[in-house]
């Protein structure tokens, strides 16, 4: 008696049932590993080396930063100095710039003053809208 053998049919299609799982796994992987790096800070362009310019003293306002964070303000040619809290710098600079649009804000920092104090002063200078800024170290 002849026995009929049932042939198994082999599908010629690629199984796609797990594609959605793989796609979601990849999605979750990249969602969790992605880092959006945003660089933030106070940008400044340093002068080129040996690029020194003579500037008229009347166009400079000095902010001399002491180690304790207090700031001495000295205007170019004048001998008169005033000690101010750094939070006043923005106001002082705004009013001085209104009178002289060529004004350069020169921040002179004591070598032993913590970096945060220099950032505080630079922050105020930036907030005032000054774009001519000079960073110097106070010479002993």
């Amino acid at each position: 008696m002849a026995v009929l053998q049932r042939k198994e049919r082999v599908s010629d299609e690629i199984p796609t049932a797990s594609m959605a799982d793989i796609a979601f796994l990849l999605l979750v992987f990249f969602l969790t590993t992605t880092v959006f790096n945003e660089e933030k800070g106070l940008p400044i362009v340093l002068p080129e080396e040996a690029e020194e310019q003579d500037v008229s003293a009347k166009n400079i306002i000095f902010f001399i930063l002491r180690p304790d964070g207090s700031v001495i303000v000295r205007r170019g040619e004048r001998v008169l100095e005033q000690v101010v809290p750094f939070t006043q710098i923005e106001i002082i600079l705004r009013s001085d710039m209104a009178a002289n649009e060529n004004l350069i804000a020169a921040v002179k920092t004591d070598p032993f003053a913590p970096y945060k104090h220099m950032i505080n002063v630079l922050d105020e200078v930036k907030l005032s809208g000054a774009d001519r800024i000079s960073l110097q170290m106070l010479e002993e």
């Binding site: 800070g41 080129e48 970096y115 950032i119 907030l127």
Partner: protein
């Protein structure tokens, strides 16, 4: 997938300086090199400790290769300024004059409390 960035360096433990005028630096990541200065004054560039006098030597070839290079100085808030000044002098010597003092954004309320 397009936006994924695999970090090339480790963040160093620093106390960030805060500034209200902090702005986003609109520059491609490949154009930014970080110079870390920790509280002890140790300088790291790409996870390597770099002596102060060698900073220009490390940055110069990077700048020669990429003229759009921006150097982000990530200094600890307590580091004495003379160390930051040495770094900026070294950067000037290397030719890389576009610098950012990396800071955290500070709200006005916090600033008033400083």
């Amino acid at each position: 997938m397009d936006s994924t960035v695999f970090r090339k360096e480790r963040d160093q433990p620093i106390d960030w300086a805060n500034a209200e005028a902090t702005e986003k630096i609109d520059e491609k990541r490949k154009n930014i090199v970080h110079v870390w200065v920790d509280r002890e004054g140790t300088v790291f560039i790409n996870d390597q400790i770099v002596p102060y006098e060698s900073i220009a030597g490390v940055i110069r070839p990077l700048y020669t290769e990429n003229r759009n290079l921006v150097v982000a100085i990530r200094g600890d808030r307590e580091v004495p300024y003379n160390q930051i000044n040495t770094i900026t002098e070294q950067l000037q010597a290397s030719g890389a004059v576009r610098v950012t003092f990396a800071t955290r954004i500070e709200q006005q309320v916090q600033r008033a409390r400083r």
